[in-house]
């Protein structure tokens, strides 16, 4: 018996076959363990980085004073992880809203001259709250020139607290940027 078989039909048949051969679905506990953020997987490393990030604030105190009166807002102390190097920098916020649990943020990285290089296409940004606690992870994508953009849903616990923030406010977080030291 023969029928007219299109590539679409053949691919659908193969898809169906693959489905029947699927291994068991992973358990929720495993998925949740795999999805844990890097600071939970490596708490000691997280503590070290957050400590260092906390110290940057002192070095950038003057810049923060200057930034307070500007249109764009305070610089946010940032620690860049580039390869094995940890680079102290700051991120100047250009735009910030956290309405309805949706974070929209644009920033420009201000790097020390010795660390300047073509901008990375993306950063994984860890938001570290006052008290050196990593709270939230989002991907920042390069948009124009050296400007990065983040659009992400906030955890409910942060959404309420950040909802009233304006770009000109001093932000209650700092950044760790880089490929997080996670297995991915």
């Amino acid at each position: 018996m023969k029928t007219e078989t299109t590539v679409e039909k053949m691919l659908r048949w193969r898809l169906e076959q693959a489905g029947t051969e699927a291994p068991p679905a992973p358990r929720a506990s495993r998925l949740l363990a795999l999805a844990r953020p890097w600071w939970e997987l490596w708490p000691e490393r997280a503590r070290q980085l957050c400590d260092r990030l906390g110290r940057i604030e002192m070095a950038y105190g003057h810049a923060m004073e200057r930034g307070g009166g500007s249109r764009t807002g305070y610089p946010v102390p940032a620690l860049l992880l580039r390869g094995d190097a940890e680079i102290e920098a700051s991120a100047r916020l250009l735009y910030f809203t956290a309405r309805d649990g949706e974070l929209r943020l644009r920033f420009v990285l201000e790097l020390p001259p010795e660390a300047a290089q073509p901008p990375e296409a993306t950063w994984e940004v860890t938001f570290v709250e006052e008290g050196a606690t990593p709270r939230f992870l989002a991907v920042a994508a390069l948009s124009v020139e050296r400007e990065y953009r983040i659009e992400a849903s906030l955890p409910p616990a942060l959404a309420a607290g950040w909802a009233g923030l304006k770009v000109t406010d001093r932000m209650p977080f700092r950044f760790i940027l880089g490929p997080a030291p996670a297995k991915e």
Binding site: E4, V7, M10, A28
Partner: protein, 300 residues
Amino acid sequence: MHFPSIASTPPPPWPVILGGLHRAARPPETMSEPGTAGTGSAADAAPLSQTRQRICAALDAGDAATARQLLAGAVAEFPAIRFVESWLSFWDASAWPDAWLIAAVRRDPPDEPALDALAERHWRNLFARCQLLTLDRDKAADLAQDAWCRILRARHGLRVDGNFPAYLATIATNLWRDRYRAERRAGGMADARLLSLDAAQRTDDGEGSFLGDLLPDLDALAASEQARLKLDIDQALERLAPVLRDVLVARFLGGESCAEIGRRYGRTEQTVSGWVRQGVQEIRAFFQETGRFTPPNPSP
């Protein structure tokens, strides 16, 4: 001896039907009426219909723990609802609609039974899609799992009213695409194969190319032939440039239009249409080369 007619026999009371499971078991239709509840439980405070509404509201909000508490309270007072069809779906998370499961997974911490049910429900299709992209069982399982991890990390933004399986497939496809791009950057794939895609191929007979003169009815094949065909399809897909494989899977299995695929790649609809034709042509050429499934001459 007098036997009453069946028609005139009143139905047995609910406690009898239920085997006397509960002293106060009442017909479900009376349970929702105000004033029929007993005293001393959460369910007593409100009519059963209100409890039901509260359970639904909790599940809508993703508060599975509260929903279970309310349910347990209602059942303690009205065991009969265990047997009422409209209450059955509350018991088992695998019977919940995606919207309830997603809402429960969005919470902090996510509800594990809900996540189990959601993963189980969509795993098979997700794995199959990953299998066609990676053409490797282990890689497909890893990719599917990584897609789930990506979703869980951003779970607060999940939409309860969205098309969740499509979203899962998109995340998996994006991850796979990122990986092959990274491999290409690392020199693992031939750039020439990808560069040639910029030229739309217009020499074949289009998306729906018939293999009818090559392939027999797939469902009518013997098991060994089906196994052979699976390998051949995988080989044919493997020979395609990753972009073509992605485009064919997106077009034929994901149901995306050429325009939608084009937006993702920053190319025109016409270019993507050319990619689809090229992919179809290459698969067809593969089967012509192998000749394995050329049907035999018709029986006399």
